[in-house]
């Protein structure tokens, strides 16, 4: 009995404990459902909901003629995860089955390794159980498109292990073309238009609450966005692809030929100041050239092209006139303890101011500047300010650096400043400044601000048009302007650019420049010359202004402005003149000669007659019946239709017949025909007029 009670007591105890446990569990469940229910349910909702960032598409940069210069496109890095079960199951059956065909296709697509090599590399990575094997980086969308249809890869990520990491890059279809100016849209340190117009181009990312459904697809919770994404606007650049291509090709040719260090070529549309082309090339370590820096907006010593500014100042102040004479001192002149040299000896020493400018004499410029401005440098600097040589041009390109002009009071200002500045040393302005100044002369004294973007568009609809900006309607008096124009034209007729433009059918106005430039701390010892040419054309009705600046290699044999930068200018000018500028000089009278197009066709009369009627050909018909074989001949004004003689026992002429007609004719006579080519009959193996027999073989060639 004792034992029985003992057992019962234990059973009751464990029963009660279990009941308590059950009640506790049930109670907790009720509590979670009823008391905390709302909290958990909302948490569940939010776990299935997420806020998706909707990336805004970046706008496209177009050229003036509507071509894409920079647009967004995806690029892919391809990896393979060799650890996925789908690939390894059944002792790697799927991998072994597909490796050969995959390697073959990969080799065919990328052409960088043979199929055998691909196979080896893949097998190695498979053996090593590489979880993130880099197969190929930076592949284009088209490559990716064929890649994902390859054997194995088409089975999808979980069976093949293929991982494609996508990212958006900016695509420049023309590659190097105006690359630096169009710019880079990288995350840090953007440059060019991509930077200047970043705010316009980038748009705004949107945000949206979505609920996840199977397949990782997000369904918008309600149809509203938290923030609506805004696609970036498109901008239309003033750059003309054709002109840019010409400028870049011409510059490249000279740079390669001369092994120059860097160079740039700018083409401005005279009336508006639109930058039609801006090419920048710099020599890379391996000797090739690339758009690595915007040399066009980087200030440097301009050299002789700057003499235009000095001459303008002197003429405006009426200090000199073009016909007064001065002494060139044999091209050597000492001033303030330093010596001014001319780059070439002169045939004559006593010349007029105009001649001195045309011959690009440093001595002449320095002498005039010293005698008229040494005691009153502010007067000279006032003119430079009027010409806007002391501030940035204001082109819509971030990163333009300020010109350097030393003024009295500055540590770098000395007695040599004014004389040297007068011929383009001791100051730094950018090639774009030079272009802007010469363009003002070309544009009858009205200075335009050079600019790169002419409008902003959204999905093809014009949002904002950016008009040309006049900086100064009259930078000098009309009298001065006329004298400057005559001097610039004189350079190309009788001066340093005389031989360059000999025989050119249009007039050019311009100025050569050759400057010895300082090379870092080595100073002028390396004999690095900067050759330049600035000018406009056609001189009697200027349409384009062009500036070419090339910095030569040390000790270059060929460094004169007229022989390095000049030919580039000329090539650009020649092509633009031929293409865009319509003058009567290139007009020739049309000839009244008869049309020399001769033809001869053979065929069935009804067909030929139908064709002639449709084509409104005038023909004179000399045939009788309507169901004849005829030949249509034209060697005079009107075509003649003649009967084609067909003899049942002799080979007819097939030349000029279409295949259908030729076959019909031959088979009618019982010939076996072999045909080569397509089109009309060119020749036949049995010559016309030869006797034929049934069943004979004939070869005909069609063109």
């Amino acid at each position: 009995m004792e034992v029985k009670r003992d057992i019962l007591w234990r059973v009751y105890l464990s029963y009660i404990l279990m009941v308590i446990a059950c009640i506790a569990i049930f109670g907790k469940a009720v509590y979670i459902q009823q008391v905390e229910g709302a909290k958990w349910r909302s948490m569940s909702d939010s776990l299935h909901q997420r806020i998706d960032e909707i990336e805004a598409e970046r706008g496209t940069i177009y050229s003036e003629d509507g071509q894409m210069l920079s647009t967004s496109i995806p690029q892919f890095d391809i990896f393979i995860d060799f650890r996925v079960a789908g690939l390894r199951e059944k002792n790697g059956l799927r991998f072994r089955e597909n490796i050969d065909s995959l390697s073959f296709h990969l080799a065919q697509l990328f052409k960088d390794m043979s199929p055998v090599e691909y196979k080896r590399v893949l097998q190695q990575a498979y053996k090593a159980q590489d979880g993130y094997f880099p197969l190929k980086k930076k592949i284009s969308f088209t490559q990716y498109d064929s890649l994902r249809n390859f054997p194995l890869f088409k089975l999808g990520r979980y069976k093949s292990g293929m991982i494609a990491n996508e990212r958006t890059i900016r695509l420049n279809p023309y590659q190097m073309l105006a690359f630096r100016t169009i710019g880079l849209a990288r995350d840090s340190n953007k440059v060019g238009l991509e930077k200047t117009y970043d705010a316009v181009l980038k748009g705004r990312n949107g945000k949206q609450t979505v609920r996840s459904i199977a397949g990782g697809i997000g369904v918008p919770v309600d149809d509203t966005y938290l923030i609506e994404p805004e696609t970036g606007k498109d901008i239309v650049s003033t750059i003309d692809v054709f002109i840019q291509d010409i400028a870049e090709a011409a510059l490249m040719k000279m740079m390669v030929q001369n092994e120059a260090e860097n160079g740039c070529a700018i083409v401005l549309e005279t009336k508006t100041g639109k930058v039609k082309a801006i090419a920048n090339l710099g020599r890379m370590a391996n000797g090739t050239y690339w758009e690595n820096l915007n040399y066009a907006i980087t200030p440097s010593e301009p050299g002789s092209t700057f003499k235009l500014a000095t001459l303008m100042a002197l003429l405006e102040d009426k200090k000199v006139n073009l016909n007064q004479t001065l002494n060139l001192e044999n091209g050597v002149w000492r001033v303030a303890g330093q010596t001014v040299y001319d780059s070439e000896r002169h045939a004559e020493n006593i010349v007029t101011v105009k001649q001195a400018f045309e011959l690009s004499s440093n001595v002449a410029m320095a002498k005039m500047a010293v005698s008229h401005y040494s005691n009153n440098p502010q007067q000279y600097l006032k003119h430079l300010r009027k010409m806007r040589m002391d501030t940035i041009t204001g082109i819509d390109l971030v990163g333009e650096r300020k010109p350097v002009i030393h003024r009295p009071g500055s540590k770098l200002y000395g007695p040599t400043t004014i004389p040297w500045m007068s011929f383009g040393y001791n100051l730094a302005i950018s090639p774009l400044h030079t272009a802007m100044l010469y363009n003002a002369i070309a544009n009858n004294g009205t200075m335009m601000r050079p600019y790169l973007v002419s409008s902003i568009k959204e999905e093809g609809v014009l949002l904002k048009e950016i008009p040309p900006v006049i900086l100064d309607t009259q930078i000098c008096s009309p009298a001065t302007l006329a004298m400057l124009k005559a001097s610039l034209e004189g350079v190309c007729i009788a001066g340093t650019a005389k031989s360059l433009f000999a025989g050119t059918p249009y007039k050019v106005a311009g100025k050569t420049g050759t400057a010895l430039v300082a090379d870092g701390n080595r100073g002028y010892a390396n004999k690095i010359y900067q050759s330049s040419f600035a000018g406009y054309f056609p001189a009697d009705n200027p349409q384009y202004t062009c500036v070419v600046v090339i910095k030569n290699k040390p000790f270059a044999a060929n460094f004169y402005g007229a022989s390095v930068a000049g030919p580039v200018f000329k090539e650009i000018a020649d092509r633009l003149y031929g293409t865009y500028i319509k003058t009567n000089k290139t007009l020739i009278a049309g000839t009244n000669k008869k049309d020399s197009t001769y033809f001869k066709y053979n065929g069935y009369k009804a067909d030929l007659a139908y064709l002639s009627e449709k084509l409104q050909l005038k023909i004179s018909d000399s045939t009788g019946r309507a169901d004849e074989w005829t030949s249509l001949n034209k060697n005079t004004a009107a075509a003649v239709m003649q009967k084609m003689p067909i003899n049942k026992n002799a080979m007819p002429p097939l030349k000029g017949l279409g295949l259908k007609d030729a076959l019909y004719l031959c088979e009618e006579m019982g010939l076996m025909v072999q045909v080569k080519g397509r089109g009309r009959v060119l020749d036949q193996s049995i010559l016309p007029g030869q006797p034929i027999a049934k069943g004979q073989l004939i070869q005909i060639n069609l063109n």
Partner: protein, 60 residues
């Protein structure tokens, strides 16, 4: 039903995007290849080059 429509919209959107990418890639390839300097390079072995003569216009 709604889910299916949304999936279809997604799929079609993706297809549209891909076609746009394809267009851009092909177009840019064409643009590059038809650039004058590229053509000049390509036809140089055939002995063709840009004429140095000024073009003449014929009076109507």
């Amino acid at each position: 039903m709604a889910d299916r429509t949304i999936r279809r919209i997604n799929a079609i959107n993706n297809e549209l995007k891909e076609l746009q990418f394809k267009y851009k890639t092909l177009k840019s390839e064409l643009m590059y290849k038809t650039e004058e300097s590229q053509i000049v390079q390509l036809v140089a072995p055939m002995g063709l080059k840009i004429s140095k003569d000024m073009p003449e216009r014929i009076k109507q």
